[in-house]
């Protein structure tokens, strides 16, 4: 592969932290479910052996059967199994794995885990622990980004003690502003202020609220972004100082900060903006000496200005969207980078068509998205052109209560956005899960919604259209539903009646022939 960037910070890093090239022959996957299966698939293709880990609840899990080896690492609660660094490392040592892939969630963004893996002489498939630390805490990350010239939401990351000082800053960044408690969370001590005249009163009220809620009345200030969109850039860096961006993913369809639908490209990003965001994302990654797959998340306001939100120092759930438009295998690239290989040059990358991902969850939208663990009595997944189902379940599997209720990620690719939406809807229609309730109808309702179709949607989409997205079944289809239920019941009843008659007949046949003969004669009124 061609080396993309030979100058600047990349050059410095190359001198600093070159990694000894090292062929990986066996990978332990410190994860479960869908992502463990996803990683195993690529390892298979590369001829790399795999080790699964599993808790008490996951002996029957799909990833255990798919791996070459599997090690039990503890009881069902993840803190005692999938989050237990000691047990994961023991499993790696016991099986002779030479690398650990953390997937997403669990230990994937814990710098101390990455460090422990490296201290054990194993390859951590992910960034350096220092990079994770530099991006781990929001205020630190923000400071690092500001220093690297990456735009952040205007405001003060550090607490402001004096009211006058705060008001002066608010006047400078422009209203509306958000007043936030430094120790805050859950909306307490958080106020939106629309004009200078209200500022003093709101500041003081927020101070009182913060003091009573957290015992800490320190406040800070940020510009309020009205109906922002969530757009993120996939970046990739190797150990030779090359950092590239692979394009954006639009993730504004979120429910309570949880992504529901992701697509690429974004409807609001044109070539120039994409280039600008890509360059900023690369700058952010370089600033922390990044290596491997990472995602730089941005908030985009109505004027299409973008601000750094955070960096996810791991493979994302929604990475298949980028794989579909770039044709790359990001897990393969992770493994290659970990082996000391190079990423492709920026100008080699080609993006084509449109990809959309829908997250299939075991949850009931009609009951406040209540999780629905339980047995999958039947599963039939979609197929056909441009459809990809990254699943971690099978027919007969009991979805455990202990972990995230995501069953699968359904992705559709097509040349245009309209065709990709139509294709994903078609695939959702083919998706059949029996035994537990899923969000499949909710996902279809999102894709059919005019605001989504127009591309004019932002992070408030799910909350704003909540009532339209959780719809009652279509009354026009009720008759077909009733016909199906009634014919099915009729067949069951007829089969039961037949079985009953057959049993009765068999019982009759078992009785004495003489007796039957006798009865028949009586009935005929014949001689005895």
């Amino acid at each position: 592969m061609v080396v993309g960037h030979g100058l600047g910070l990349g050059h410095v890093l190359e001198g600093n932290v070159s990694m000894p090239p090292r062929k990986i022959s066996k990978v332990l996957i410190a994860n479960r479910g869908e992502i463990a299966v996803r990683i195993i698939r690529t390892c298979r293709e590369m001829g790399i052996a795999t080790v699964a880990v599993y808790s008490d609840a996951d002996r029957g899990s799909f990833h255990v059967r798919n791996a070459d080896q599997a090690v039990h690492v503890g009881p069902a609660p993840s803190r005692l199994s999938y989050l237990d660094v000691g047990r994961i490392l023991d499993a790696a040592r016991a099986t002779g794995a030479d690398a650990i892939h953390p997937g997403y969630g669990f230990l994937s963004e814990k710098a101390e885990f990455a460090r422990a893996v490296e201290d054990a002489g194993l390859v951590f498939i992910g960034p350096r622990p220092e990079s994770m630390e530099a991006m781990g805490v929001k205020t630190t990350a923000r400071k690092n980004m500001a220093a690297a010239g990456v735009p952040t939401v205007p405001g003060a990351p550090a607490p402001i003690a004096v009211l006058e000082e705060a008001r002066a800053l608010a006047d400078r960044i422009g209203y509306p502003v958000m007043i936030k408690a430094a120790a805050g969370g859950g909306g307490k001590g958080m106020k939106r202020c629309d004009r200078a005249a209200d500022f003093a009163a709101m500041w003081e009220s927020a101070q009182r609220e913060a003091a009573s809620a957290f015992g800490d009345d320190r406040l800070y200030l940020e510009k309020f972004l009205d109906q922002p969109r969530h757009v993120e850039i996939q970046v990739f860096a190797d150990g030779h100082g090359n950092t590239i961006w692979l394009g954006e993913r639009e993730c504004s369809v979120q429910r309570r900060q949880q992504k529901v639908i992701e697509e690429s490209p974004s409807c609001i990003v044109d070539a120039r903006m994409r280039e600008a965001m890509g360059e900023v994302a690369v700058r952010a990654a370089r600033a922390v000496g990044y290596r491997g797959a990472g995602t730089v998340e941005f908030l985009v306001d109505a004027g299409r200005s973008f601000y750094f939100l955070e960096m996810n120092t791991r493979l994302q759930v929604e990475h298949p969207v980028t794989e579909m438009v770039t044709g790359l295998d990001l897990v393969r690239m992770q493994l290659e980078v970990a082996q000391g290989e190079r990423v492709p040059a920026q100008e080699q990358l080609v993006r084509r068509g449109h990809a959309i991902e829908a997250r299939v969850y075991a949850e009931d939208p009609a009951r406040g998205f209540l999780p629905c663990p339980g047995k999958i009595t039947y599963l039939r997944v979609p197929a056909g052109p441009g459809v990809r189902d990254d699943s971690g379940v099978y027919s007969g599997w009991v979805v455990p209560q202990y972990y995230d209720p995501m069953l699968s990620k359904l992705v559709a690719w097509a040349p245009t956005r309209d065709q990709a939406i139509a294709r994903l809807l078609r695939a959702l229609d083919e998706y059949t899960v029996h035994g537990i309730t899923t969000n499949l109808p909710y996902l279809a309702a999102v894709l059919r919604h005019p605001a989504f179709r127009s591309g004019e949607y932002d992070t408030t989409f799910c909350a704003r259209h909540a009532a339209e997205l959780v719809r009652a079944p279509d009354p026009a289809l009720e008759d077909v539903g009733l016909i199906a239920a009634a014919i099915s019941a009729h067949r069951r009843d007829a089969e039961q009646a037949e079985a009953f008659a057959a049993r009765a007949g068999a019982a009759g046949a078992g009785a004495s022939r003489w007796l039957r003969q006798g009865r028949a004669r009586v009935l005929r009124g014949g001689p005895r």
């Binding site: 406040g368 016909i483 014919i487 019941a489």
Partner: protein
């Protein structure tokens, strides 16, 4: 040929009833009467509760997910939970009196999980829809609400306790 069947279908959680009659005409061919409409239906059974229906010549795919007590019938994006009852089952169902929210109402665990918080003490007066306790399952907290206004007369679980699906949690009267 089997005999005709006559059913009452309960819809919308039992709050609506519709009559359905199924008359077999030939193997796999039925005449289905829904109110005053009569359809000729050709039904072919695929695997696992999937039915291919030709209703007056139009092709439909319906999947039937047998839950207790309702069967969840999916047609396109729509899922209809339907309880399908013959005469005998309808009488039993009515005798069970499960249609009303009068009297003592027991709150059951909708899924296996852990009781993380009890929000109303035993003996408390509660309003309909008031959260009674919080169950954590799959990393998410779920509030369970009172089915009716009244007094919390039974509290059968403690904070920190693990419960199975359908476990009795508390009762309001």
């Amino acid at each position: 040929m089997s005999r005709p069947s006559s059913y009452v279908a309960l819809l919308d959680g039992g709050s609506r009833e519709r009559k359905v009659e199924v008359r077999p005409l030939a193997p796999g061919i039925y005449e289905v009467r829904l109110g005053d409409r009569v359809h000729r239906v050709d039904a072919w059974r695929h695997d696992h509760g999937t039915l291919s229906l030709l209703v007056d010549g139009v092709s439909w795919s319906a999947t039937l997910d047998e839950r207790d007590p309702a069967v969840h019938v999916r047609v396109k994006d729509s899922v209809f939970p339907i309880e399908i009852l013959d005469e005998r089952r309808l009488r039993l169902r009515r005798a069970a009196g499960a249609f009303t929210l009068e009297g003592k109402q027991t709150v059951f665990a909708p899924m296996p999980g852990k009781v993380v918080k009890i929000l109303a003490p035993l003996g408390a007066e509660v309003a309909e829809g008031q959260p009674l306790l919080v169950i954590e399952a799959m990393k998410m907290e779920n509030e369970l609400r009172s089915p009716r206004a009244g007094k919390l007369v039974e509290l059968l679980v403690k904070e920190g306790q693990t419960v199975e699906a359908n476990a009795r949690l508390c009762a309001v009267e």
